[in-house]
């Protein structure tokens, strides 16, 4: 996958690049609108992560350019403004999703993968991970033709982990993904342990593989 990250905040851009760089993926970053438009004009990407507030203009210009030249890169907007106007405007001129700062890299990746899948696999709505086959329309998971019955949250959790395979995902990120980012009601995310345990057991029982690695106190890794 070829990815362009347009973000003026150096720390954030570098971390996104690092997080998304893996075997078979190329990440490029740029820090202003001018260089972004230059790159978009010259090269073709699979996905673009676009910050709206750039030092030399609004990121919407990139969307307008893509629309004008009928390029069909997936675009995911990131913005510090939690404004609905921005969101609607972005989605109207061709962005595929919108995420508000601050966000977890795991969340960004899960969103980007979802957008990318939707755009590139069209009617083929299955996702394979090792021998697990996930039907995205029917929301079912099968292993060697055997269906694994998952609850809604377990299913979402599995997709989230598959999108972030090989990465340590923090409990905060999982909780915010599944229960919304308004998690003001609890101080510890220990209850997540129960859910991971259930999912882990179901997958282990059906496939004989343990997909999860627990990372002390912080989170989990899906392998």
């Amino acid at each position: 996958m070829k990815l362009l990250i347009i973000e003026d905040e150096q720390g954030l851009r570098e971390n996104i690049e690092k997080y998304f760089t893996e075997e078979g993926s190329i990440c490029e970053g740029c820090k202003d609108l001018k260089s972004a438009l230059y790159k978009v004009a010259l090269y073709t990407y699979d996905c673009i992560i676009l910050d709206i507030n750039l030092p030399d203009g609004e990121g919407f210009a990139v969307l307008e350019y893509l629309k004008a030249y009928r390029k069909d890169e997936c675009v995911l907007i990131i913005s510090a403004r939690n404004g609905l106007d921005d969101k609607l405007k972005g989605l109207n001129i061709g962005a595929d999703d919108y995420i508000t700062k601050p966000f977890h890299l795991a969340e960004l990746r899960a969103r980007l993968m979802a957008v990318f899948r939707r755009k590139n696999y069209g009617s083929n709505n299955t996702l394979n991970y090792q021998e697990l086959i996930i039907d995205l329309l029917g929301r079912t998971v099968t292993f060697q033709q055997k269906e694994i019955i998952l609850t809604r949250k377990e299913y979402e959790m599995l997709l989230y982990f598959i999108a972030n395979k090989g990465k340590v995902v923090s409990k905060n990120a999982i909780a915010e993904h599944l229960w919304g980012d308004n998690m003001d009601m609890i101080d510890s995310f220990d209850f997540i342990y129960t859910h991971i345990k259930n999912l882990r057991k179901k997958l282990l029982d059906s496939s004989g593989n343990d997909f999860f690695n627990s990372v002390y106190g912080v989170g989990y890794k899906f392998i």
Binding site: E9, G11, L12, N15, I16, K18, Y19, I78, A80, R81, N82, G83, L84, T100, K101, P102, F103, H104, L105, A106, K153, K167, V168, S170, K171, N172, A173, E176, W179, G180, D181, N182, M183, D184, M185, I186, D187, D190, F191, T194, H195, V215, Y216, G217, V218, G219
Partner: protein
């Protein structure tokens, strides 16, 4: 007491006092003038008697002076100073005692001394004084009435701009963008007052707006650094060389960062509600929202061993879905966060009233403080903005919110109708 009443009181007391004093002075003056006139008459009559005696060589008969009474008595007194005095006399015509004015003087006739006393009636003078008194009284009454009526209308007319300014100041709301309108008045003081009020309100509004803008900008600006911290942490935990102690530190940093982020989002939300920058209102079935949230939080509730009892009717409200979500979310958060383990939550939606009851420590909360920003219990790890957000949403939609401790349960009610 109203200003006009104060003014009336003072002006009536002063007018009555002035009228009374002037009435006394007036009476004394008229009395003196009348008396002098009578005394002049009497001295003339005395002269006439003297002339009569000189001319006719005898004293006149008593009846010669028609209404007056003349008494002549022989006396041994040789020296007597002529004196005038008030007296009463027996009116022969009307057969009654009448007030009169008399003069007594000594008269020498044929080497003998006679005391001559002449009495004239004071009736006409008294009558004059009475008439003047009545006229004065009537005039005073008219004056007082005029004063009262004039005060009432003149004052209320005169003070009208003042009351207009006052009502506008009362209506003034710093959060509104509308400014206090200028009131035209010919009275300099009111013009000045009005100018001062307008200047002040404009300044207050501007300060308030810039404070709000500051809060908004500050919160926005903070989002990027928080995003950097979060992404750094997300990257940091990928490092396999980290030991458990470091990971536990990272967990704490995660918790603090997400709290900071929620705090910021709540502040932004408060500013947004105050500015009315909200998504459009739409009809929402509150029952569905509640059931959805129940579903969403069921794992957390189970984990905390909280039992939930519900009695939920359908209720349609017209509001922003976004805000209603937050409202219900915060009610749930509040009820879960401040609960005990094991605990219970009652959720009731009947007759347009939503009620959230939760167990917890049985101490009643401070009604006036709980909805204030950053007010929270010592042990609370929340942002301290949850209830403030609820309150602002309720104010925005004119819902009535209340808190009570009922049978050891903390009960929050929202009246939607």
């Amino acid at each position: 007491m109203k200003l006009s009443a104060h003014y009336n009181k003072v002006s009536i007391i002063v007018s009555i006092a002035t009228l009374l004093i002037s009435a006394v002075i007036y009476y004394l003056a008229i009395n003196t003038i009348a008396q002098n006139q009578l005394d002049d008459n009497l001295s003339e009559e005395t002269e006439e008697v003297k002339n009569y005696v000189n001319l006719n060589g005898r004293f006149p008969k008593q009846v010669d002076f028609d209404e007056d009474q003349t008494l002549i008595r022989k006396t041994n007194i040789t020296a007597f100073k002529t004196r005038y005095f008030d007296t009463v006399y027996n009116d022969l015509k009307d057969k009654k005692i009448q007030p009169g004015r008399a003069v007594a003087t000594l008269m020498l006739y044929k080497s003998e001394n006679y005391l001559v006393t002449i009495i004239v009636s004071r009736e006409s003078t008294e009558y004059l004084i009475q008439t003047i008194f009545i006229i004065t009284l009537i005039l005073s009454l008219i004056l007082l009435t005029t004063l009262l009526v004039a005060n009432k209308y003149l004052l209320s007319g005169l003070w009208r701009p003042f009351y207009i300014i006052l009502s506008r100041v009362k209506e003034f709301n710093v959060a509104d963008s509308t400014q206090i309108a200028t009131v035209e008045s010919r009275v300099n003081e009111f013009q000045e007052l009005n100018d001062a009020v307008v200047t002040m309100s404009t300044r207050v509004s501007t300060d308030y707006q810039s404070l709000k803008a500051f809060t908004e900008n500050a919160s926005h600006e903070m989002m990027t650094p928080i995003a950097v911290i979060t992404s750094k942490l997300d990257t940091l935990i990928q490092d396999e060389r980290l030991i458990s102690d470091q990971l536990s530190q990272i967990t704490d940093i995660y918790a603090a960062t997400s709290r900071l982020s929620r705090l910021n989002q709540s502040l932004l939300l408060l500013v947004k509600i105050e500015n009315g920058l909200l998504p459009e209102d739409e009809p929402i079935n509150l029952k569905n929202v509640l059931l959805e949230k129940l579903q969403q939080f069921q794992e957390i509730v189970m984990d905390k061993r909280i039992e939930i009892f519900t009695e939920i009717d359908d209720l349609e409200v017209v509001a922003s879905k976004y805000l209603i979500d937050i409202l219900v979310n915060n009610l749930f958060s509040n009820a879960i966060r401040h609960n005990q383990m094991p605990g219970l939550i009652n959720i009731k939606l009947t007759n347009g009233v939503l009620e959230f009851q939760n167990s917890g420590n049985g101490n009643p909360l401070e009604q006036n403080l709980i909805f204030k920003r950053f007010y929270k219990g010592k042990s609370s790890e929340g942002t301290g903005l949850g209830l403030a957000v609820i309150k602002n949403i309720c104010i925005h939609y004119n819902y009535k919110i209340g808190y009570q401790l009922i049978g050891g349960l903390h009960s929050f009610t929202i009246h939607f109708l």
